[in-house]
Symmetry: C2
Subunit: 426 residues, 2 copies
């Protein structure tokens, strides 16, 4: 009689029709499984082998689904989810000055921020997004809310040249920023970045101080840059140079820079971004909705610039749907480049996962299904009328999958705690 083979214990084994690890780009593993222990991915292997090798405390079987990394939204203003649809079909400056800023002036505060983040997390999780880069006021409240809900976030520490309900002076913005950074510096879910609002709303002294502190604390600088042609022409009039040149003069154009929007770019600016390791966050739907301009995504990609994807706030999108955003990015890049091969589906998926993670300095922890990474995973049901027939899994994910097809969101920590608690039971 054959000797019983001892199987390795694991917390969770998910076998699926397909595993899409994202790294390497374009790879699709049919009938594979992902094995998780203590919140970390410990193996990715054919399902048959996985079942022979591992004894799982929990076994999730999704034979008609894709398992992939959770989507990562690299640019949000999530408290603004409460302003979804409050003022549409308006140009950027009228939208800001006549609607958004007056409303914020009247209602912004801890309760507003907590409630907005709660609504946003519910929407993000239902749609397969497991991590976001937050850019708003009251980062203390935002961070605590994400933490309480077990949602992974990089929370921005705002700096802007005018007083708000959050801070009255540049000094106060920086004092509060340092305090909050210190509070969360060793958290496993929450990280921080500096978020000077934009080059046109933060003066040279403020930007220099951001650079100095970001270097010191080793955190990214997440900022709206070259969102519109107007921004660039105003910079030329005021500073005698484009904002990217000004940021460069102030020492900010480096691998810590997360530049959001970037619709106005010369070839030299693109080359500079590639050389310095800048990350560009593309927000296609917000750029279209506010008629801000077209980010030259394919030119950036060909130049080797790191690309991430974001929805922007729900007030200018009007959703936090990263499946929709991936699709818009892939479609729009082709129209803008005049080239139907631009930003192919696997590249769009990379932007929405590992590209975003790398931009946020989380590329070693999340964004792909690789052994040793945190198990932020989602399952996406593909056996639906809308996604048959099935020729190419990644094409299907990008061009016709709706976020409502997300069947499971498996956040590393939730499962980890679940397993620990289960182990305590008789």
């Amino acid at each position: 009689m054959a000797e019983a083979v001892q199987r390795e214990r694991c917390d969770l084994l998910i076998d699926a029709g397909w595993v899409v690890p994202v790294n390497p780009v374009g790879q699709v593993l049919a009938d594979h499984a992902v094995v998780v222990t203590a919140g970390k991915i410990v193996a990715v292997l054919p399902s048959v082998e996985a079942r022979n090798r591992f004894a799982a405390a929990e076994h999730v079987s999704r034979p008609t689904a894709v398992v992939m990394p959770g989507l990562i939204n690299a640019h949000v203003h999530n408290p603004m989810t409460l302003m979804r649809g409050v003022a549409d079909d308006l140009p950027l400056m009228r939208w800001l000055t006549e609607h958004i800023w007056p409303i914020e002036g009247a209602i912004m505060g801890p309760e507003y921020c907590a409630t907005g983040v709660e609504l946003a997390v519910a929407e993000m999780l239902r749609g397969g997004t497991t991590c976001a880069s937050e850019n708003y006021f009251f980062p203390d409240v935002c961070a605590a809310t994400y933490r309480r809900l077990g949602f992974r976030a990089m929370v921005g520490l705002p700096v802007i040249d005018f007083p708000t309900a959050w801070a009255k002076s540049q000094d106060e913005y920086f004092d509060k920023a340092l305090e909050i950074h210190d509070l969360w510096r060793s958290d496993t879910l929450i990280t921080t970045s500096f978020v000077p609002h934009a080059p046109y709303t933060v003066n040279d002294a403020g930007l220099e101080r951001v650079r100095m502190l970001a270097d010191q604390l080793d955190i990214p600088v997440h900022i709206h840059v070259h969102e519109t042609a107007q921004e660039v022409s105003e910079a030329l009039a005021k500073h005698g140079m484009r904002q990217i040149a000004r940021l460069d003069r102030l020492g900010l154009v480096n691998s810590q820079l997360i530049a959001v929007h970037m619709t106005q770019l010369t070839d030299a600016e693109i080359a500079l971004c590639a050389e310095r390791g800048v990350s560009v966050v593309h927000c296609p739907e917000s750029n279209l909705k506010l008629a801000s301009g077209f980010c030259p995504v394919e030119r950036l990609r060909r130049a080797g610039v790191r690309l991430a994807l974001g929805t922007d706030g729900a007030a200018s999108n009007n959703d936090l749907d990263m499946f929709g955003e991936m699709r818009t990015a892939a479609l729009l890049a082709k129209g803008v480049a005049g080239d139907a091969t631009a930003l192919a589906a696997p590249q769009a998926l990379h932007m929405a996962t590992l590209g975003s993670a790398e931009a946020m300095g989380l590329g070693d922890r999340v964004g792909s299904i690789e052994v040793g990474k945190d198990a932020d995973l989602i399952c996406v049901e593909m056996d639906t009328i809308e996604t048959v027939p099935m020729f190419e899994v990644i094409s299907q994910l990008v061009y016709c999958t709706g976020r409502h097809q997300v069947s499971d969101v498996l956040r590393a920590n939730a499962r980890q705690w679940q397993a620990r608690i289960a182990a305590l039971q008789p």
Copy 2:
């Protein structure tokens, strides 16, 4: 004692949180009801009044939903739904010549067309689309399949300068076209149009014959026009004029013309289309995906050209999602016009409903909720995480509603038969 008030009988009373009739554009009626008898809309009035005035055989109550006209997809190649995702991220001519045409050459036939239309109807109905303008071969099979499934369609009668599995010669295309037109001429659900493929695939003689017969039979001419810049430059080389000028010379630029794509347009061409009452079908996602160019939707709208909306075939989109297409149209129009006020949400909704109906010659029957029209209605649930808070109903429908929020599809005829059958029962 008060005398009992006699209420009017009706087949169906739907009361809803909001009724969006589409005509007038932008109107939202809170707490209203739509009353249907014999498949026709007989009243639109406040819900309280409706319940007092009508005794309904069936009462549908949707207090958190919008009732609106079913969406109308003005350009599909539905048998191609079976080729969804078979060849993505390729330029138009390589996509057609190396992938789509060889596959069609090998498999096109009655079974392929019937199965593709079945899949497409399932997808369309689930997503709130109740009518489509079909443009494919084997229109006999397509028409019979739509009829069998109770789906309203305008079925195109194809003409193209090369032999296919459907017809071997120009004469055969026309003979079959006339036969099919005759078969369906008095049907209540199926109408017909001529679909010469494109100006570059049908010669002058063919186009002239299309015009003559379309005039005679009083049916629209549905044709791909100015899809790419290459099409226009080839026309200049071959005919010494742009294709729109050529179509005009052949007498086709008139109110029966349904011109699809139209990404290349001069101001004079736009003025000509407005003057002659041409309908333009915008297919934004297909135009982006194939990098065909940008249709100047806002310029057309301001010139007074009738605008309709279509997904194009699922092989170049890759879905039949009219909610998604409305959203892309509204977003892209702003980017292309460089104007955030371009194609506001109510205008995008009009394109996807009444605009499409009018283009197809069905404007007196469907496309809006008006007394006397056929009751092709849908309910869209708005009490979901993704569509709260609710400031503007039509913004919400266009910018953040997913097609999976469609809760009911109430096709006039289905309800009509249901009521008749119910009336026969003891």
